[in-house]
Amino acid sequence: MDKKASLASRIGPALLPLCGIVLLIIINIIGDLLRDPSPGIFGPGAFLHIEWRAGVGLIGAVIDILNHSSKIIILALGMSIVIATRGIDLSVGSIMAVAGAIAATLTVSGMPALAAIGIALAASIACGVWNGALVAGLRLQPFVATLVLMVAGRGIAQMITDGQVVTFQDPLLAYLGNGRPAWLPLPMPLLIALALLAMTALVTRRTAIGMLIEVVGDNPRAARLSGVRAGTIIAGAYAFSGLCAGVAGLIAASNIKAADPHHAGLMLELSAIFAVVVGGGSLSGGRFSLLGAALGGVLMQTLTATMYARNVSAEVAPLPVAMIILLVCIAGSPAAREWWRSRRRGVPV
């Protein structure tokens, strides 16, 4: 009974993003059919068409969306944990730019890719630890602490690449974002995202760490008084978010075989927050759903892909996307929740 209830509470938050994804897929199918009905629903060229190509694996629009959503999924994992501690991490987009800049610059200067990736990830974790120290140590408001790195981080990335876009040819680094393992027909970024999701879920839900995170976010004072080391948990959350941002940054650089300090990860902080909120995380902390956040990330990417498929330009697309994000935040806000609750009970508002 108890197990069933906890299973429901794990899957419940995933339903909203799932409905959103289905809705967007239907919109895309109808839009495509109106433009050209010849491919049908699953035929070549249709939105849902998935094809097996020898030597490559599965290809199709849906696989592309899943592939591109992996960066948001990875960011959303870290953001889930940070938001669960009643925090926020606005610096993830900039940390992505820093990680990409470090890895690209180092491999171009002749360092082996593995070492460069290691240094880039270590630097990302250091960025996260810096955020965590400001929030947990100096007790700064999370959005101020991470806003500093959000803006200054891009400056750091520009300094690393000297303001240039650094292109690289390293095969291993390029494999991260574009490769497909021979034994699995899926793109590498998606596999990395799924592996990180599984690992994070395992660590948070099979140990007490997940509960401790939620306790710290739900009532920091009570957590401290009952002996939970809130500071360590909070700092750890930001460090993990930094690591996730680093991984996403490496994938972003790998995708285009270049590190772009100005545009890498731009607006992705908002996408990650959206993914968390739509996936059942509360901005006031205290709970998180990794599955919900991951599906929220897929929903976000489906939304962006739908914009592009409907010929909305890349500069203008943030307008409808930001509006939808705001609507979701409004729907998940305490005021809206109360309103729903009172409606259900039939109590006049």
Partner: protein
């Protein structure tokens, strides 16, 4: 019982120590620049900062009030960019620049007010709502026009010829500096001498207590964000006076400089405490950072955002330290 005078002295100390530190830092930076670079130590440097940073300062006036009310407005940079391209496009369509500016001001206030309404009605954190606003309003600018657009209108050449006060030593006060100083003075009047201003301080101190005292929290929140939108739009107009162009891609990351200017000026990010006199010093310091980096020449422009961020952090840290010291002293006094 504690002595009320020491409490007043202590709270004034807490209030003015950051401001005094800010003034000292501004003086040190100016002296440092004057000793290190030729042509730095002149009134012209100061007037150039005020002119070049007028749009930052105007946006900072609204931001100061937003932060005092306990919120934050991350959309200021996008709003400056959006209104600048809106004005440029309208002028190209044949509208007088002043009419175009009036439309931009109305649009800025309306967008700001909308964000304030969402913040209040749905009790969402202001940084989330204005972060969404930051991206949406930036895209709105691109919707108006995707590239930057120069402005050719006799009004603009008239302002630089006739609406500029020339002072001695190469210093000059162009129209945009006057707009900044006027906005600053108006902001001070609003903050100090109107019921709205007192309400802003009250809801920043404690929204709950303010509501119990009969302050209309909703109207004040909406008003403060509408005012911030108005100021950013006015900043956008000043930006067009400065660059003679509108640019939807301009001033990315401006919000950090504006927030830094406000915080360096002694306004507490936790709300309820602060003022506009400090913001003027803050704007000058943020301007001095960029001017010194420009004079240094070899330094990468990226240093500006890093240095600004570090200074912001240092001041937030100082505030935090003072707040802890004050609460500790208050506790000791009670014992």
């Amino acid at each position: 019982m504690s002595d009320p005078t020491t409490q007043v002295v202590a709270s004034t100390g807490r209030r003015f120590l950051p401001l005094m530190t800010a003034i000292a830092i501004a003086v040190v930076m100016f002296v440092f620049g004057s000793l290190r670079y030729e042509h730095f130590g002149s009134p012209a440097t100061l007037s150039n900062i005020l002119a070049g940073y007028a749009f930052v300062g105007i946006a900072a006036v609204g931001m100061t009030l937003a932060i005092i009310s306990g919120g934050i407005d991350l959309s200021v940079g996008s709003m400056v960019a959006f209104t600048s391209i809106l004005i440029a496009t309208l002028v190209q369509k044949g509208l007088h620049p002043l009419a175009a500016a009036a439309i931009a001001l109305a649009a800025g206030s309306a967008l700001g007010g909308m964000m304030g309404a969402i913040i209040h009605v749905f009790r969402l954190p202001s940084f989330i709502v204005t972060l969404a606003g930051m991206f949406a309003i930036r895209a709105l600018g691109f919707l108006v026009r995707e590239q930057s657009l120069g402005i050719q209108h006799e009004f603009y050449s008239w302002t630089s010829r006739h609406a500029t006060l020339t002072l001695g030593g190469g210093a000059a006060i162009p129209l945009r500096t006057m707009i900044f100083l006027a906005a600053l003075l108006t902001g001070m009047l609003i903050a100090r001498s109107t019921a709205f201003g007192r309400n802003v301080y009250a809801i920043g101190g404690s929204a709950r207590n303010a509501r119990l005292m009969g302050v209309n929290v909703g109207a004040t929140t909406i008003g403060v964000f509408a005012l911030s939108g108005f100021c950013s739009a006015l900043g956008g107009f000043a930006f067009t006076l400065y660059r003679r162009a509108g640019d939807p891609a301009a001033v990315v990351g401006l919000e950090l400089e504006v927030i830094a200017a406000v915080v360096i000026g002694g306004t507490l990010l936790s709300g309820g405490v602060g003022g506009l006199a400090g913001t003027l010093i803050g704007v000058i310091i943020v301007g001095l950072i960029r001017t010194i980096i420009d004079f240094e020449g070899s330094l990468n422009a990226a240093w500006t955002s890093i240095a600004t961020g570090m200074l912001l952090l240092a001041f937030v840290g100082l505030q935090q330290l003072l707040a802890t010291m004050m609460s500790r002293r208050a506790r000791d006094r009670r014992m």
